[in-house]
């Protein structure tokens, strides 16, 4: 059976994460200037730390998606410099392992999907490194939020695919239970047990229902999408869409990027950065042709990619 530990106060978990700073960088959801997002624990003010528990246990994820921890908005491939008539290539620094605390079942489902893109052959090594060095602690949603769709998509909020599952005692709201789900998670729990405030628990107070059958199946959606290709819906959406990149940048499953060089004088970097299929220049070709010239085309493409093409390409 998977080991379960408990603590009497959420604050013990936070201070334990701070103690582990040399091994892990911890990110938790909090509020900064009125915006809820994951924020590094080592840069938080006292009052921001007090907000973590409420936001993490709420049935609504914060603004930013957790994809940015495994697929950052900008990421360097290589650094290069010219010395005399030679080009020198610099090694990249390796990253410190990180803990993301307070993620949701739906977030993890999205990572599962992006895994199919980056971890299938040829493996994206930048992504792989981050994925391996990231430990996710998921909170269990016991109630569906206002705009949640997990049940429709067959995502069980009680059994997130995280390294550690976390829940609190429903009655007192004080005790926090942590259950390991992977080897990585088990190791961290062992470490936590040696720290102040943690004891072994016999129970993990979550009544794991069998995951329900999805109301919407991706196969069904995939097969029906073609009916909508010529729908007027796209025309209307295209007219109302502002053409900014917000929906793609905050979407947990959007994963398109652009590769660019940045150089000044004798040195530079090659990096990748998020790109958005909603931008008009996303499909600009040399010579000026653009196969998706209108917003209607771009919106239609985005939904077809998500609901049909993705599952055609990544079947496993």
């Amino acid at each position: 059976m998977a080991p379960v530990i408990k603590t009497t106060d959420f604050a013990y978990l936070i201070s334990a994460c701070k103690m582990l700073e040399s091994q892990y960088r911890t990110f938790c959801p909090t509020m900064e200037d009125g915006v809820e997002n994951y924020w590094p624990l080592d840069q938080m003010k006292e009052e921001q730390m007090w907000m973590i528990k409420d936001i993490a246990f709420r049935n609504k994820p914060p603004l930013g998606s957790i994809k940015s921890f495994v697929f950052p908005d900008s990421e360097i491939y290589i650094k290069f410099a010219r010395r005399g008539n030679k080009v020198e290539v610099e090694e990249l620094e390796t990253m410190t392992p990180q803990i993301i605390l307070g993620v949701k079942s739906c977030d993890l489902k999205s990572i599962e999907l992006i895994d199919k893109v980056f971890l299938s052959e040829p493996v994206d090594t930048l992504y792989q490194e981050k994925r391996e060095k990231t430990l996710m602690i998921a909170t269990i949603c016991t109630e569906m939020g206002q705009s949640c769709n997990c049940k429709e998509f067959g995502i069980c909020p009680l059994t997130p695919a995280a390294d550690i599952l976390m829940t609190k005692d429903e009655e007192t709201g004080k005790e926090i239970y942590l259950k390991s789900n992977t080897e990585k998670g088990e190791k961290l729990l062992e470490q936590l047990l040696t720290m102040k405030g943690f004891v072994v628990s016999d129970i993990f107070p979550v009544d794991e229902e069998k995951s329900k059958k999805p109301v919407l199946s991706s196969d069904k959606i995939k097969n029906r999408m073609d009916e909508f290709f010529e729908s007027n819906l796209w025309e209307t959406l295209g007219m109302l869409c502002m053409g900014c990149g917000t929906c793609t940048y905050y979407c947990p499953t959007c994963h398109c990027y652009d590769i660019r060089d940045f150089n000044r004088m004798d040195q530079g970097v090659r990096y990748r950065t998020w790109d958005s299929c909603m931008f008009s220049n996303f499909t600009n070709m040399a010579g000026g042709h653009n196969p998706r010239d209108t917003k209607k085309d771009r919106i239609r493409n985005r939904f077809f990619h998500k609901l049909k093409l993705f599952s055609c390409f990544h079947t496993s």
Binding site: E32, D33, G34, V35, N37, L63, P72, D73, S74, Q146, S147, E235, T236, G238, M239, L240, M242, G243, C244, G245, T246, Y249, Y250, D258, R260, F262, Y271, T273, W274, D275, S276, F279, S280, N281, N284, T294, K295, K296
Partner: protein, 333 residues
């Protein structure tokens, strides 16, 4: 239902039935409470979904320069700020007046939903809001509360002196909205309503830099501020140009975010109609309006008062007079 909504639906039905316009662009109720979203009605049936209320924030004038609206006769619902946007577009030949049927609406000020939620202290679902002259009555079942307008109205609306388009310049003006008494008080000055910028002006240079660094570091350059702005009307934005490539695409470079936001602020400030969309649409809550406010204040100081969309073109920064202040000359000395 807002009184204007009723009149709006009637006129929209009439326009669509007679075939005078191809479509009516207005607002409808969104999925969430206190959310009005843009809506295109193409038939009298659909016209019954149109509404206008205190949450009809989006600047619809921006749509008029989009290709999909070209070659169509469009009836457009305009508040004061939106109408000023349209007038700038007309002055710059970006739209043709005979293609647009302007339905002017008396604007009752836009309420910031987030702020309202904060003031009430709970989610807005299941609440019933009643808009009175001096306050908003919030009813949660039997419980009643009163919320003052001052705390929840957009600061732009609080200081707006052109909330309603002038009757002569629109094709029809719909009035009879419930205007909060605070908006009728014209004694409120700019300084009264933009307290935030006063606070920032008091900061030291380092504090100011830290403030903007903190905010701009969150920018993802999704360009929603630019795309929502009714006076950002360039055919090709300089930040979309690929040759030359003016801006580096990396999303973790503060310098690039600064470059984008400062250039954009300078490009639009003399034409800013104060709709507040830039700050409202920013997913990261960056207070972009403060950049415009600051520049607006400086423009007033150095170039004299100018109200975009009301005063004659050209706008102060689109031409130069010999007697204007020469900041760069001074610096050189």
């Amino acid at each position: 239902m807002f009184k204007i909504t009723e009149k709006l639906q009637q006129i929209a039905i009439k326009l669509l039935e007679s075939g005078e316009v191809d479509l009516v662009l207005g607002y409808t109720q969104g999925n969430e409470p206190c959310q009005s979203i843009p809506y295109i009605a193409t038939s009298p049936e659909e016209a019954k979904n149109l509404i206008f209320d205190s949450f009809s924030q989006k600047a619809l004038s921006k749509y008029m320069i989009q290709d999909a609206f070209k070659n169509k006769k469009v009836a457009l619902v305009v508040k004061g700020c939106d109408h000023r946007g349209i007038k700038l577009m007309l002055g710059e030949n970006r739209v043709q007046r005979d293609q647009i049927y302007l339905i002017g609406v008396e604007c009752s000020g836009m309420i910031r939903k987030e702020q309202l939620r904060k003031e009430i202290g709970q989610e807005l679902h299941q609440l019933h809001l009643e808009f009175q002259n001096d306050y908003i009555e919030v009813m949660d079942g039997e419980k009643k509360r009163e919320i003052e307008y001052e705390g929840v109205l957009s600061p732009f609306c609080l200081s707006c002196s052109h909330a309603t388009p002038s009757e002569e310049e629109v094709d029809i003006l719909l009035t009879g909205g419930m205007i909060p008494s605070i908006l009728k008080d014209k004694n409120r000055t700019h300084e009264d309503n933009f307290k935030d910028i006063n606070e920032i002006e008091k900061m030291t240079e380092d504090e100011k830099f830290d403030y903007w660094k903190r905010h701009l570091n969150r920018c993802k350059r999704c360009y929603s501020c630019r795309n929502a702005c009714p006076v950002c009307t360039c055919r090709v934005c300089m930040f979309d140009r690929e040759n030359p490539d003016y801006i580096d695409a990396a999303k973790d470079q503060l310098a690039q975010h600064q470059f984008y936001h400062i250039i954009r602020a300078f490009h639009v400030v003399d034409r800013c109609v104060g709709c507040g969309e830039c700050s409202r649409v920013c997913p990261e809550g960056i207070p972009l309006h403060l950049l415009n406010q600051k520049l607006h204040r400086d423009l007033d100081k150095y170039y004299g008062s100018y109200v975009a969309g009301i005063d004659e073109l050209p706008t102060p920064l689109s031409h130069a007079n010999a007697n204007e202040p020469d900041f760069f000359g001074k610096e050189a000395k």
